[in-house]
Symmetry: C2
Subunit: 271 residues, 2 copies
DNA sequence: ACGGTTGTATCGATCATCAATACTCATGCA
DNA sequence: TGCATGAGTATTGATGATCGATACAACCGT
């Protein structure tokens, strides 16, 4: 089950902590089922019929029926406006609001990011470390950017993003290597670096310089510098990204100009 | 139970549709419990102990224990970094990403909003209609703005926001009145209009002008114009807001300048 | 050492949930 | 018109996952 793999990941020790022992008997299968249903939309972001829900969540049609009814009542699913099928519900946004509001890092980061964006005039993001992926939590756009590429909640592979590399640079080699080994090193663009040795070299540079950068590794035409926000024991919590366009900047100018700002902002949030 | 009231609301016919009959027997109580736990953080956005979770979700401590364990495994809760208690988990953001991505309105709105923000230089928001509240889905900040006031997922009362009034103006009087009647007409600032007759007058104006505006009714110093995005049968789906500061603009200048832009953007998204 | 928290673990009874199946209602095709 | 398909809905009794009480452990400040 792919979903199972999904949270076996979570047992891994992303912070070198003891593996979480979860007593099977304390795990509520029926509760989990609801989330499997919601997660089905991650794979197919469109209205799903009952049968598709059942298939996507790997549950019986009967179970899907009841879960869907329940989630409709609660507002976490809505009937598709097209008449057939269901889609994720607005109520989900309330929960993400709670998440953002509960997270002290994000609360502290918001004014700093806004200031930073004002100073830079470029896109500014806060990403959170989450093992082999990073998760964008706050995104302040600048110019025209495409689609949902800039939605918060988006995940990107740690190895191929500036923020991810900046965070890997905070970890010891063993842990960073562990993440690289478990990462699917698939290129996102023709310029994505997928050779572990080269990635390690970039991480080493980031460790030396205090920031990381990528050129067109996640999106063509884009350059990003990023600095890690660390908590105690130098564990990475997140990263500040500043992203610009190669149409506007040379790589060297961009790095020279924005890297210090990213580092400063990240430092203000660290500790 | 306040939570119960929460979704009895959803039985109401926000779109004049037949009341949803929900067979009690199809409602999964144990599934709902998990969401009650997550919803507890809406009331107290801070780490909650097991006992607090139990109290907040109105379930027994044992049930809370099992739900919490389950949600920890799934990533929808995380142990608080402070050591004690749990907080909402990063995985929630994945679901909000799915929501945003599944919603065609939001997908279509993103480039238009970005363009609009570039043109205006002021804050631009997309809100969604949800009965007595509106829900901010996309927020493109401009200047320095405070705190989480500008997070997406935030809800505001329909009656006191420009977008809310623009959407009420799309409804027939009976329905709009129904919403006003069920709204808690509590002032958000000293300048919030809470007199239903006055609100109706403003709605009437909005109907005439094709947009609504509020001055300092939600936040002192702020002026907002908004136009409704409608779907078929003129039902409001959401609204485009443009928000500026009274420090920068006179009310009249702001309206004259930005109302047409909001209307145009809303029209482009409607239908 | 204490009373107060935390979070964790165990247990058998019971009632909510299970899967299977049959139903109604649209829609599409011939 | 009629049949086939896939949509969502409804009903059932058996079963076993989940219930709540309670006990335990680990920590805190006094």
């Amino acid at each position: 089950m792919s979903t199972q793999q999904g949270f076996e990941r979570r047992y891994q020790a992303p912070e070198r902590e003891p593996i979480i022992e979860v007593d099977e008997r304390l795990f509520l299968k029926s509760a989990a089922r609801s989330f499997y249903v919601l997660e089905a939309f991650a794979r197919s972001p469109r209205p799903l019929s009952l049968a598709e829900v059942a298939k996507g969540a790997k549950i019986s049609k009967s179970a899907a029926q009841r879960v869907v009814q329940t989630l409709l009542v609660l507002g976490y699913l809505e009937r598709s406006p097209t008449g057939t099928g269901v889609v994720p519900g607005r109520r989900i946004l309330d929960r993400s609001f709670d998440y953002l509001r509960s997270n002290p890092l994000i609360e502290r980061a918001t004014p700093i990011l806004t200031e930073l964006r004002k100073t830079c005039g470029e896109r500014v993001d806060l990403s959170l470390f989450d093992d082999v992926t990073i998760l964008y939590a706050i995104r302040l756009q600048s110019k025209r950017e495409t689609f949902y590429a800039t939605l918060s909640g988006r995940r990107m592979p740690t190895f191929a993003t500036a923020g991810g590399r900046a965070m890997l640079a905070c970890l010891d080699d063993r842990h960073a290597d562990d993440i690289l080994r478990r990462s699917k090193l698939a290129p996102l663009t023709p310029k994505t670096i997928v050779d572990p040795a080269l990635i390690r070299q970039r991480i080493e540079e980031a460790r030396r310089d205090g920031y990381a950068y990528v050129q067109e590794e996640a999106l063509m035409g884009e350059i990003v510098v990023a600095a890690a926000v660390v908590k105690e024991r130098n564990m990475p919590a997140g990263a500040i990204h500043i992203a610009g366009s190669l149409a506007d900047w040379s790589v060297e100018d961009f790095r020279k100009r924005f890297a210090p700002l990213a580092i400063e902002a990240a430092r203000a949030l660290s500790g």
